[in-house]
Symmetry: C2
Subunit: 388 residues, 2 copies
């Protein structure tokens, strides 16, 4: 194992603050964290010595006569690199990022099989390709983050159940570690994207927020009290199975009236096919038909937006996030303008009291950004004391 | 201000573990907390000196030749006492508890007004009555916890909005502190009960759990990653406003199909009145009619149970709690046998995958136990580092 760099809580606190909120002076770190100045200085030292942090030139004195000027600490973002891969049922999307989880290079690889062995083999080739792009990546990339949809046990590195891949109990961290020689983290894909938002995106500075992903399914990641909600029993964030439709329609999960049974890609396609009489329409064609102004097709999307808005309101009523980030995969985003007005209207009508004040931030995220989420999980695992 | 006793995180960790999980040996505390034995011993010392902790006689040696026997640490529960009061719109319910939040004495007081001044005056009398019950309460009770329904800002001691009391922006902690001379905490009533379960009840040992309260309204408290979810925007736990009914019926909140619009006391009474043709039925009479076997009345309760079960499933799908505790006020509990089967059935049918494994624990809680929750918040505030 690559040794983890932070050994004390103070070290994790200081490094994380510079990483996610820097550049920032030691005085300001002490103020925000409640640590003493001496503790901040002591905690920062090993990171400076190891080249992860550096001092910027002082730009201002804190106060007249206040002694030496305050030099902000900043990350040396290219001190270490991280590989991140999102695994879908037909494709791997990979990136190399710097310490701030900024993608530097990306690549895709079609999958010809979803067997764990086949996927791991393709994964190893993809990661080798990515790392060969720059000698620095080869030298200073020790971690690989993987993002998979389904029930993932991060602590064990285990994919318990992934319906899209047809996997049960696949020890993915071990398999991928053996194939790549890297330290591997495995996390649910929506939670991975949530971690990227928490440390490096629109969640920075929010003690609680929710990320809602609209696409083939409808998912949700939650952060409460500064920590991602992992859920017990392998379930969390299943906003798609809130029964906003009452008794109708039936859902593939066995429930009734689920958001996803109304607003998932499959029911939208089925409803647009029924409305237009064209039984061969794809989702892309359904979106085109609606964009072209077909009223019945537009109503299908509005109904989907209504279900999504009610699901978001239910989540906000229960959970009270400071912010709600709405994103999606490519298809979900292509259709977003067809949903958006109704999502906002239904959210506002169903949000309880002041929960309606919570603004929905629309943030398009490409598959590369989902892969970046996987890398962000590896970064958080390396530097956060909370993960141990 | 009564000085808070814990000044370091280690002290808070050690004391909290003995309080909520003790008696427990120092060795076991070190094992569970990750602190060194020396750190545990150092952290425990001031509490022993101040009389909050004591050593039990050693009952066993940890291992042959392992040195001196391990003496478990335990709480001296009567070292300090806490007052807790639940404020409803027509009554105050107060208790004095020991350090473990066990109620030792309780009293009720009818309210003749809901004005803040009138309530605070009655509160001061009630607390004085309770403390006069034993000289030790007068000597060693420095904290008063208050529980109020509605939007409460605990950090500010402010009731932002309480519809039942008709209060807006009432600085209750300050007013009650001036009237009683005690340190006062103010918290939402459902969150107070959640804190009592977290530290002293069925939540002990669970990193995440949910408490669902069934009564005039339907509420929910959530604990994630060992901390109560307070919510932003003054809203959290509004399980009653999840729209499980689709478009029907309208709810007093402005939403549609809310759990509470189907399963709250008012809609149940209205539906049983409509079903029986008796427009003067109270909720108690409606429960009696259903208990007597009236089919239409029984169906009203079953429909309410269905809505509650769907709401609990939606919460579990989103949040993934380890445990779900279902409780209620007196009326909610009197009717619980009319709801129970349908709650369980609807929860199971709508819970996503393994979320259905989460067992619902039915736990009757009297108003005294809600008052105890208020005291538990004061205890947690005094001893927890997380609250500062």
């Amino acid at each position: 194992m690559h040794p983890r760099l932070t050994t004390t809580r103070a070290e994790a606190t200081v490094f994380t603050m510079v990483l996610t909120q820097g550049p920032v002076t030691r005085v300001e770190i002490a103020r925000r964290s409640g640590l003493s100045s001496a503790a901040v200085t002591k905690a920062a030292r090993p990171f400076i010595e190891a080249g992860y942090l550096e001092e910027l030139e002082a730009t201002e004195r804190t106060a007249p006569g206040a002694g030496r000027p305050a030099s902000p600490l900043t990350i040396r973002a290219n001190r270490e690199f991280f590989a991140g891969v999102k695994i879908t049922d037909d494709e791997l999307i990979g990136v190399i990022t710097d310490l701030r989880a900024q993608p530097l290079v990306s690549a895709h690889r079609r999958l010809t099989t979803t067997s764990p062995e086949g996927v791991v083999e393709a994964l190893a080739e993809l990661v080798a390709d990515l790392r060969s792009d720059d000698p620095a990546y080869d030298e200073r990339c020790h971690w690989l983050g993987l993002a998979v949809s389904g029930d993932v046990d991060k602590a064990l590195g285990l994919v318990r159940y992934s319906p899209f891949l047809g996997w049960r109990k696949v020890p993915l961290a071990r398999l991928a570690g053996e194939a790549t020689g890297l330290n591997v983290t495995v996390e649910n894909d929506v939670r991975s994207l949530t971690v990227a938002e928490q440390w490096f995106g629109d969640g920075v500075g929010a003690s609680s927020f929710a990320l809602v992903t609209v696409g083939a399914g409808i998912g949700c990641g939650l952060v409460a009290n500064d920590r991602v909600v992992a859920g017990s029993h392998g379930v969390a964030g299943e906003i798609g199975h809130i029964p906003v439709g009452g008794e109708e329609p039936e859902c593939h999960c066995g429930g009734r009236g689920c958001v996803e049974a109304i607003a998932g890609t499959a029911p939208i396609v089925a409803a647009v096919r029924a409305a237009t009489g064209d039984a061969s329409l794809t989702i892309d064609a359904a979106i085109d038909v609606a964009h072209a102004g077909n009223t019945a097709a537009r109503e299908v999307f509005a109904r989907a937006g209504h279900a999504i808005g009610l699901g978001i309101a239910a989540m906000a009523n229960l959970f009270g996030p400071e912010r709600i980030i709405v994103t999606g995969d490519v298809q979900g985003l292509a259709a977003y303008d067809l949903f958006e007005e109704q999502i906002n209207r239904s959210f506002t009508s169903q949000a309880f009291g002041a929960a309606a004040d919570c603004r929905l931030l629309l943030r398009p995220r490409t598959f590369e950004q989902w892969a970046r989420g996987a890398a962000a999980v590896a970064i958080q695992t390396l530097f956060s004391s909370q993960e141990r």
